[in-house]
Symmetry: C2
Subunit: 408 residues, 2 copies
């Protein structure tokens, strides 16, 4: 049978992340691969109480269809939480999604014709590249350093390049590198977006997981023209298995995104939405997230200490103030994907995400993304120890460099 696929399918290819998610259930491996929160910290008792309360005839509408935009009560709660975080929002601006990933896909569908340019950080979230692919974009990439996206470089890219429509960024505890965009650069980014008529997609799934340093304002709170679409999720602060995220957008952008949500899957799960709404009413999510911050800060510290102790000194890594990841930079010429396939997975029994997959344009092969939240302290010490031993063996002959973060 000869199948005549849509042209866009030539841009859609299997991903490394998908293969990793497939191995998510394999208990033999220590995986620093996925962006998993710690399963032990999910609020089981509270959610059990909430589901038990809702699953009865009097609350029967929780199992029925509901409005495509999402439950009004949940949208109000989300808007209130955003406003409390310094990003004024109205329930009518919120659209409930099946996790943040759906928002990336909908925004690309809204804006991108084949060949249109999307500006992304270099590297950027691989899930965004996967969501963008069917819309056949071109990419312009912007350098990243310890203070996030380099807005001077962005200015140069915008000046030189063809008119870009959309800029995608993870300003807080960036995926994959862990770095955050400074306040000065956030302001500069908004200026540049206004100047060049860019829509910004601000993806903030890790925003509440700050372990140290001052909280920075969202891009949406700095936006004066309604050109920032803000994306967030309950996956990291409550549980990914509920599959609930949301976007915040203004006016016509929000209206058109709602039409695309309806077209894509009618609505998000009524029961999940009702359960989270009820959880937010009955329990103190702020206290829950404070607990996550304490636990994840500890895991981060264990991870960074283990890497510092076990890895050869010429492997650089970032020191994130929050979020889920640190980013490794191996010496030039080191191929982290080959090392994973030949050594890390079969010998050390350790998984990470090879860095090449995070680059929209020119791939760099000497990086890896390491997650520290989905693993125990023991797994961190064991896994990094095993990985370190193999790395020392492989890198033994190399000259010792100066340790840094590995970001330009």
């Amino acid at each position: 049978m000869d199948i005549d696929y849509a042209r866009r399918m030539s841009s859609v290819r299997p991903s490394a992340i998908r293969d990793l998610l497939k191995h998510g259930d394999d208990s033999e491996l220590i995986s620093f691969g996925g962006g998993y929160p710690d399963q032990a910290l999910f609020p089981f008792d509270e959610l059990r109480a909430v589901y038990s309360e809702l699953l009865c005839r009097e609350h029967g509408s929780v199992l029925q269809y509901t409005a495509s935009d999402g439950l009004v009560r949940l949208r109000e709660q989300v808007a209130d939480r955003m406003s409390a975080d310094g990003t004024p929002a109205d329930a009518d601006e919120i659209l409930i999604l099946n996790g943040g990933q759906q928002g990336i896909e909908l925004v690309a569908k809204l804006l991108i014709d084949p060949g249109d340019t999307i500006i992304v950080e270099d590297p950027t979230f691989v899930g965004a590249l996967i969501a963008f692919a069917p819309f056949e974009p071109s990419y312009a990439t912007v350098r990243l350093d310890d203070h996030g996206m380099d807005t001077d470089h962005l200015a140069a890219v915008l000046k030189a390049g063809p008119g870009a429509k959309l800029l995608y960024t993870v300003p807080d505890f960036h995926n994959p590198t862990g770095v955050s965009m400074s306040l000065e650069r956030r302001r500069r980014l908004i200026e540049l977006a206004n100047e060049h008529n860019l829509i910004i997609l601000e993806d903030t799934p890790y925003r509440e997981l700050r372990y140290e340093g001052p909280r920075l304002p969202t891009l949406r709170s700095l936006d004066t023209q309604g050109r920032v679409i803000h994306l967030n999720s309950f996956s990291k602060i409550l549980a990914p298995g509920l599959r609930l995220g949301w976007l915040t957008a203004s006016g016509e952008l929000r209206e058109k995104l709602a039409l695309l949500k309806l077209a894509a899957d009618t609505q998000s799960g009524t029961l999940s939405m009702a359960a989270v709404a009820s959880y937010l009413t009955r329990f103190d999510i702020g206290a829950h997230v404070a607990g996550l911050r304490l636990a994840y800060r500890q895991k981060r510290d264990v991870m960074l200490e283990a890497i510092g102790r076990e890895f050869p000194a010429d492997i650089q890594f970032t020191r994130p103030e929050g979020g889920l990841f640190t980013w490794l930079t191996f010496p030039e010429g080191f191929d982290s994907a080959r090392f994973a396939a030949d050594t890390a997975l079969p010998k050390a029994k350790v998984a990470y995400v090879p860095g090449a997959t995070f680059f929209a344009d020119e791939q760099h092969h000497n990086h890896a993304r390491i997650n520290f939240t989905g693993v125990t302290d023991e797994q961190i010490n064991d896994g990094i120890g095993r990985l370190g031993a193999e790395l020392r063996a492989v890198l033994a002959q190399r000259p010792i460099g100066v340790r840094g973060t590995g970001l330009r």
Copy 2:
């Protein structure tokens, strides 16, 4: 701010269904509009037991990320149920979705370039037209009668028309008309698809809700070349608020659809999937669906009797053997959308879906879709009584025609 939307957005417009879903919570109205199952029949106790069991630390993975294709256990159960229904299926062919709607969107994304032709029934499911719209298809429409899609007309359309890629059909208790495709026509449709290299998207959300007459084989079970993508859902047999459907497809089609699912929203809700898997293990869904069939058959009978009693004789209606809907045909020149806005909603306080929205091509304004499953017997008798009184007043001056189903 000047927003440069993607070209596809010129095809994406607000829908009548979306407005109806927004009114879904309004308790003043008697609504025959939505495709709602009866809320009173949801298995609350069983689902409460299932969620209570799962939401504990030992089952912690139900709140975590999982494989993008869906939980293996649920895919196995779905495959077993399909095989028992005469459609042999393997777990690897199943892809779990956020309801059937997502499958329509993914298949269009897989196959349709702007201008490509999709063949649909005339009328067809409005949700499919909404899902297709962003991919900018052309349509070829095929007549429908009491035996479903007219395959002679299809043969003529295929002979005359430009190469169509995709045919979308609801063969069992068609939405909106309620009719089912005969066995002979199912066979003929497969022949024509083979001849003309068509991919068939077979959408069967009502399949298990047969109230009388012999069960007919699915198109997928008659398919010999792997060109039928089968779509189904737990929305009508369990609960829509769980937001779980699935597709069944072979080989490369299935592989590529899985990549699009990953891109669209990473995965469906782990907790919903685990809950349905556990429900299927612990409880007898066959017995539950048998109960639904009894209840809905009764509602259908009450509805058809009420329409026959209360409506003027020149309004025709279909007599579905299953599913959720009957389809009204008013006399030529009657505008059901105007009547809804001017009379049915404000005076009779009754909602239905005006028929024009279900036509892909030339709209016919003298139809309406009437749902009978989401309402009580009392609501049916009250609502149809109120609607009938208004219709009699409006249609009093007209000549009395011969009553039929209103389908050509």
